[in-house]
């Protein structure tokens, strides 16, 4: 039965003390065979299952998650959504995603709290200014709303920012008004609920141990709940993708590192846009609860510990306090680390591979959340048609052989 959320359902359920809300998704036992198995129940994986069912008419789909839905990087990121990437390939992918974000709450009939509050990417030196102006122009050519703003305009947008009396003064910024933030858990829940309604089996607490292949074709996955057969397996496992790929004998150009974020105690609204700075590596936004959401950088070494180094947070906080002296005495409530998979060119891999029926959606590195709907949408197309969508064709794993990289390392407006 389709679950509808409305004012009416809120009132009705509040009268019964909110005890009668229906379960948002089933909790089925795995079947013996699925047409498609998606490994990884984060936003990208659940979204892929949703679009496979909705746009490609596939009915027999499973999403297999080793923990709980959205318990990995989907629930660990700083929820920033933007599409102001330099290269055409990236711009098309992230803009496709942003367009889907704009309609996602109504498509899922589930409030993902998408708030288009704008993103500023700060320039702190002459080189930044040149690079950012170049990126703004490239964005405009791709039809993306992006503009150059001077320190005076920045001050108007973010009055609390210290643009002058700091070691690296703010010389300007790029501004994308359509960018913003969304509630990350809700994205996973919304996709899960609607995918479940379309018949997708969401299997939690079930770890995929091995991808079984024979004669260059995928046979299925061995899980902690036994072997599940399938001819098509999509791996959307973020930091653990290379571990899974290795079980099928595939080497991917990925390195897994811990990326940290932290939130402060809640305060009254003080910053109503997202501000990112690549040069001093600090980005901040304020959640609806009033917490400052702060993103730090990755550790400089491979790790699967989901912790991250203290010195990395210290660097970020130092920059935050310099840029916003008003935050100097705030306390941080929580800190966490997620394991991100970084490719040599800092662009994702959305691709088939040499094993028939095995697909990878990985390499999102430090910035995958913003791409959730777009990535899921084109990845579903890739799995359903066994052929890349024109948007994700440049993100094939073969680009590392051909040399046609989509180098967003310096261009993505954030350090990796």
């Amino acid at each position: 039965m389709k679950k509808k959320y409305s004012i009416y359902s809120l009132v009705k359920n509040s009268l019964s003390d909110n005890q009668n809300w229906k379960k948002m998704w089933r909790n089925p036992e795995p079947r013996k065979f699925y047409d498609v198995i998606i490994v990884g129940g984060g936003g990208h994986g659940l979204g892929t299952a949703y679009y496979l069912a909705k746009e490609h008419g596939l009915k027999n789909i499973a999403v297999i998650e080793k923990g709980w839905l959205g318990g990995g990087n989907t629930g660990r990121n700083t929820t920033i959504i933007r599409s102001n990437y330099l290269w055409d390939e990236s711009a098309h992918l992230y803009e496709h995603s942003l367009k889907l974000w704009e309609n996602l709450s109504s498509e899922l009939n589930y409030n993902i709290m998408f708030s288009q509050r704008g993103v500023l990417n700060l320039a702190h030196n002459e080189h930044d200014v040149k690079e950012i102006r170049r990126r703004v122009s490239a964005n405009k050519l791709n039809g993306i709303d992006s503009e150059w703003v001077d320190p005076h305009q920045i001050k108007k947008l973010v009055p609390i920012m210290n643009t002058e009396n700091c070691r690296y003064p703010v010389l300007g910024a790029s501004y994308q008004p359509r960018a913003g933030v969304a509630r990350h858990d809700a994205v996973a829940w919304g996709y899960a609920m609607r995918a479940d309604e379309l018949g997708v089996d969401i299997i939690q607490n079930c770890e995929v141990k091995k991808i079984r292949t024979a004669k260059g074709k995928v046979q299925g996955v061995e899980t902690s709940k036994g072997f599940i057969r399938s001819n098509r397996v999509g791996v959307v496992a973020s930091g653990h993708t290379s571990v899974l790929a290795a079980t099928a004998g595939i080497k991917l150009p990925l390195q897994s590192k811990a990326l940290q974020a932290l939130v402060s105690e809640p305060i009254k609204p003080v910053i109503n846009t997202v501000v990112m700075s690549n040069a001093v590596h600090a980005y901040v936004s304020q959640s609806d609860k009033g917490e400052l959401v702060i993103g730090a950088g990755t550790d400089g070494y491979n790790s699967y510990t989901q912790r991250g180094g203290y010195n990395i947070i210290e660097d970020t906080i130092r920059a935050i306090v310099e840029l916003y002296p008003i935050f100097g005495k705030m306390k941080m409530l929580r800190q966490w680390g997620g394991i991100v998979d970084i490719t040599p060119d800092a662009s994702p891999i959305l691709s088939k591979c040499e094993v028939e029926g095995l697909y990878f959606n990985c390499g999102w590195g430090t910035g995958g959340f913003k791409a959730t709907p777009g990535s899921a949408n084109v990845f579903a197309h890739t799995i359903a048609k066994n052929k890349a969508h024109k948007i994700n064709a440049p993100f094939s794993v073969d680009r590392f052989v051909s040399g046609r990289l989509v180098d967003e390392h310096g261009a993505a407006a954030v350090a990796h």
């Binding site: 770890e207 141990k209 290379s242 571990v243 400089g300 491979n302 180094g309």
Partner: protein, 117 residues
């Protein structure tokens, strides 16, 4: 966050060091003869195991010397440190008995998926 025992300076905080990625990656002897795919593997593909990992470190804010280490990437425990030019310790020297800190089950997590050095 951990400490590293530099073979020249002793135990120091990890933040004094920089990581140099996978150790013992040999440059192909005859680059002109190998295929694009083999060259791509040499340039772009590095081991990324959850478990025992052979890697390089440099003591950036210290003696500035390079050395190798064996680390368990699921716990960040450094199991062995050895100098450049020394032979890598065999994989079987290390027992992979440590559970991951996040409490994940150790089954199937791809430990020991590193290729034999």
């Amino acid at each position: 966050m951990f400490t590293i025992r530099c073979p020249y300076c002793g135990e120091r905080d990890q933040s004094e060091f920089s990581n140099g990625g996978e150790a013992h990656v040999a440059r192909p002897k005859d680059p002109e003869q190998i295929s694009d795919r083999e060259w791509s593997e040499y340039v772009f593909i590095r081991a990324n195991p959850k478990g025992i990992y052979y890697e390089r470190w440099v003591h950036t804010h210290g003696c500035k010397k390079w050395f190798n280490a064996v680390r368990n990437t699921s716990t960040d425990e450094i199991l062995k440190v050895y100098k450049m030019g020394e032979a890598p310790p065999p994989l079987k020297e290390f027992k992979n008995t440590i559970k991951t800190p996040s409490g994940e089950p150790d089954v199937g997590s791809g430990n020991f998926s590193v290729k034999k050095p």
